[in-house]
């Protein structure tokens, strides 16, 4: 059962990621990214992270991707132009990425003592997670709320920049 679920959703994941690269219209790439993120949520559930699976759906597949599709539609982004990219990116980039993947795969496959995952494994409940988060890691948690606040202010300031220039011009 676990094997079937893993193969199906890992397949969805890889297919979505490949589709993101192959599509030339940004909205198609955005929708395939939603597929990747939703199937990752199922993989998180298989690994026993129930809170993260829910957060992945709500934050990533929901909020962030809505933001992406909204911007694609707002800017009326069309098909990507097929230009010849930088030659260095093709000559050096792809061998480097392949080498990176090969190195990581070798390290993972040779690693000793990596366990296995079964459906009967205990899941991490939201209670355990929040106990650590609000006791030991309260300060980082509060700092992230400041980070979000700064991000909101920055986004508003950047998006209003054109407005301000016009006022200065008058």
């Amino acid at each position: 059962m676990h094997l079937v679920l893993f193969i199906v959703f890992a397949g969805f994941c890889l297919a979505g990621a490949l589709n993101l690269l192959l599509q030339s219209h940004p909205i198609n790439s955005a929708l395939s990214l939603v597929v990747v993120m939703s199937s990752l949520a199922v993989l998180y559930l298989l690994l026993g992270a129930e809170f993260l699976a829910a957060a992945q759906i709500i934050v990533y597949a929901g909020a962030i991707m809505v933001l992406f599709t909204f911007v694609v539609m707002l800017l009326n982004a069309g098909r990507e132009e097929r230009t010849l990219g930088s030659r260095a990116a093709k000559l050096l980039g792809f061998p480097a990425v392949t080498a990176l993947l090969a190195v990581i795969a070798t390290v993972i496959l040779k690693a000793q003592g990596l366990g296995s995952v079964a459906l009967s494994d205990p899941i991490t409940t939201t209670e355990e997670l929040s106990r650590v988060l609000f006791h030991e890691l309260l300060l980082p948690f509060e700092v992230t709320s400041v980070l979000i606040l700064i991000a909101i202010l920055g986004a508003v300031a950047l998006a209003r920049a054109g407005d301000g220039e016009r006022r200065v011009g008058k």
């Binding site: 993101l20 992270a49 993260l52 990219g85 993947l101 993972i108 990596l114 995952v117 054109g162």
Partner: protein
Amino acid sequence: MIPISWYLLLSATLFCLGVVGFLIKRNLITIFMSIELMLNGVNLSFVAFAHQWHLVKGQIFVFFVMVVAAAEAAVGLAIIIAVFRARATLAVDRIDLMKL
């Protein structure tokens, strides 16, 4: 019952696909999506290792990565809108000057 290394391999593959997308895509928004793909690949390995060592902190790290990704998406997309206002294009080949 499957080995945890499969999850790690999937995570590495997702990360490398994100890097490839970053290199070959020519649209600003799609490049940004490739970055999100890389973040997701790394998150998967965090969760896999949290399961391996029965530690909750790995999952909390993923939570923080999500928060940072949300902030990054908000600011990044605002920057993309500002760039589009100034240049009226999203093709990175034409956004090659710091000056307006």
